[in-house]
């Protein structure tokens, strides 16, 4: 779990980049495609909207779009204005300061607390005692014995490899 806490690399990033999840940052810094794909994939499991993560890095466009929509809506529905404005404001604030939990955790500096204090970090279950990882084919789900050299995905047969190459290879890092 300690590995997941953003350390040095995050701090050196500009504030814009900091919005991207830490695993993604690690992935981008890594030269190994397979590692990148694996990390990005884990990160994607915690996202709310599949494509939002990509947008977040350049979200100015999105902000202004939203603002226009908001203004438009207010003009049209002045009767209900109080509510709309408040909701619009909430959505704007939400976009302006999207502090992720990882950032909040980082600022909380829990590592500085004495060892005996139970914290979020110390409650992490930790690695498995026997880590015999099983591999399932990314295409069909059955036991997989082959690995894609480009992205590290697993597949079970030539048929599945073809499908993988045609449709999904490197999807998580492009």
């Amino acid at each position: 779990m300690e590995d997941d806490v953003p350390g040095g690399p995050l701090r050196r990033m500009s504030s814009r980049i900091r919005r991207v999840a830490p695993k993604m940052v690690a992935a981008l810094a890594s030269s190994d495609n397979r590692e990148q794909a694996a990390l990005a994939r884990l990160e994607a499991l915690e996202s709310d909207n599949a494509f939002a993560e990509v947008m977040e890095v350049s979200s100015e466009e999105d902000d202004s779009l939203d603002g226009d929509g908001q203004a438009h809506m207010q003009r049209r529905q002045s009767k209900n204005m109080k509510r709309k404005t408040r909701q619009g404001k909430a959505m704007e604030n939400a976009k302006r300061a999207p502090r992720t939990f990882i950032e909040i955790l980082h600022d909380a500096n829990l590592e500085a607390l004495p060892r005996h204090v139970p914290t979020y970090l110390r409650a992490a279950v930790g690695p498995p005692s026997a880590s015999a990882r099983r591999y399932f084919c990314a295409v069909c789900g059955f036991a997989a014995c082959y690995t894609c050299v480009r992205c590290g995905a697993r597949f079970c047969s030539c048929r599945c490899q073809v499908i993988h190459n045609e449709t999904r290879c490197l999807k998580f890092i492009s």
Binding site: R41, A44, D48, N49, V125
Partner: protein
């Protein structure tokens, strides 16, 4: 106010917000703790909480904004919107004359606690406020129903929710924080994993959180023998006990998705021959021929309005038991339970192992308890008894415990009042909650 009790009980989860009045059996509202709006044209207005559940709302491609990230409240602006809708719109509550019992996640971060206090006292102006954690409430509720638990005064609560899973020991109604262990997997990650599998294998559903959530809840189960079930899932047509179809909404005849032939989808659970089938009986030869057909089917077809599921049905919940399969360097649920117990005094070990309570929506997968039992048994001493208690309604378990606590005679004394908050500030008031 619609109830005799002046206490609002709010189990504010990352996925669902459960709200109602202390003393009642069930909450008034169980609604998504998020805002959403349709992706296409006409999606100007954000719908809040229950508005997303309205029958006429087409849940296709909703963009979602949640106040929670990884199980913690990170966005009070969004939370205010949801609470406003729930408390004023659905509960018709008057916070100025009401106390609030709020359920917070374990190990909440001080800055988040401060922001929460502000929301409760400054934005909503509640009269008084109490913070509880879910394991102690679940214990309280189950102990009120089961005399043995009440006598033992301790239990191990496994809460498998939306954002994460905790195994937490509870002793005399207090959660032993030093024993609690967290697995960073919950319902949200499982839904996203299912999205990924379905998108990869049949139809692109990466934007369909609500729909795939529904498919997961209605079709996924925990396997008691993955190797055997993988073999069974290779069979063709009617011989495949797990094959089932989920129909996507088309926006015209239906706005919600549904399972095609639900009884057929679950027939295998009751049919003995499937459960006891030896591996040799699966027809490897034909299975391979048929894989070629399947492989062709699996090319993505964007026009399809339904998708089939076979091994995805059990490979998805499987991740809770084997996160390593996903590439996560975390122990599975059984080890998580054992580590939580072993963090406690040895005197407690045998009692905790025989009082494991399952709660949280992700424990609803069929065979969840059986699988945990199966994996735990070899990990604990032979002379210890192992008992897993399932809740009648694991989604409402925490809320019902809160309702019970809120209706106890000394509840008001446990609260922090608005005056105290204004005088002493957040940090000092928080100390009263023993966190």
């Amino acid at each position: 106010m619609s109830s005799s009790s002046g206490v609002i009980v709010l189990d504010n989860g990352g996925g669902l917000c459960k709200a109602g009045f202390g003393g009642d059996r069930d909450p008034v509202a169980v609604v998504p703790n998020c805002l959403g709006r349709p992706a296409g044209a006409g999606g100007k207005r954000w719908m809040v909480a229950d508005q997303l559940l309205a029958p006429e709302v087409d849940v296709t491609s909703l963009a979602l904004r949640r106040p929670f990230d990884r199980g913690y409240l990170i966005n009070t602006d969004l939370q205010r919107e949801v609470w406003d809708r729930v408390l004023r719109g659905l509960l018709h509550a008057d916070p100025a004359h009401t106390s609030l019992l709020l359920v917070e996640p374990l190990f909440n971060i001080p800055s988040i606690q401060r922001a929460t206090d502000e929301l409760v006292f400054e934005d909503f102006g509640f009269q008084s406020f109490y913070v509880a954690d879910s394991p102690s409430l679940v214990h309280l509720y189950e102990a009120s129903r089961c005399p043995a638990l009440a006598t033992a005064q301790c239990s191990l609560v496994v809460d498998c929710g939306f954002s994460f899973t905790h195994a937490a020991p509870v002793l005399q109604n207090f959660t032993l924080n030093y024993g609690a262990r967290r697995l960073d997997l919950g319902g949200k990650a499982l839904t996203n994993y299912l999205k990924e599998l379905v998108s990869y294998r049949s139809v692109n559903v990466m934007d369909e959180t609500f729909i795939i959530d529904d498919a997961k809840e209605k079709l996924c189960f925990v396997s008691l023998d993955v190797t055997r079930d993988l073999h069974l899932a290779r069979r063709s047509g009617k011989d495949n006990p797990f094959k089932c179809t989920y129909v996507l909404p088309d926006g015209i005849t239906c706005t919600k998705g549904f399972v095609k032939d639900k009884d057929e989808a679950w027939r295998f659970l009751s049919s003995r021959d499937v459960q006891s089938l030896p591996l040799a009986a699966t027809r490897e030869g034909t299975a391979h021929l048929e894989d070629t057909e399947k492989a062709k089917d699996r090319r993505i077809d964007l026009t399809k309005n339904e998708f089939n599921m076979t091994n995805e049905r059990f490979l998805v919940p499987e991740m809770i038991f084997r996160p390593a399969d996903l590439g996560m360097n975390e122990a599975g649920l059984a080890e998580c339970v054992v580590r939580a117990v072993h963090a406690c005094h040895p005197h407690l070990h045998p009692v905790l192992f025989e009082s494991i309570i399952l709660t949280g929506g992700s424990t609803l997968f069929p065979q969840f308890a059986e699988r945990l039992q199966q994996e735990l048994r070899p990990l604990i001493r032979d002379d210890y008894r192992l008992k897993i208690i399932t809740q009648e309604d694991p989604i409402l378990g925490v809320w019902r415990g809160g309702s019970l606590l809120a209706s106890s005679p000394d509840f008001e004394e446990m609260c922090v009042t608005k005056l105290e908050y204004e005088e002493f500030g957040s940090a000092r008031c928080r100390r009263r909650f023993f966190h």
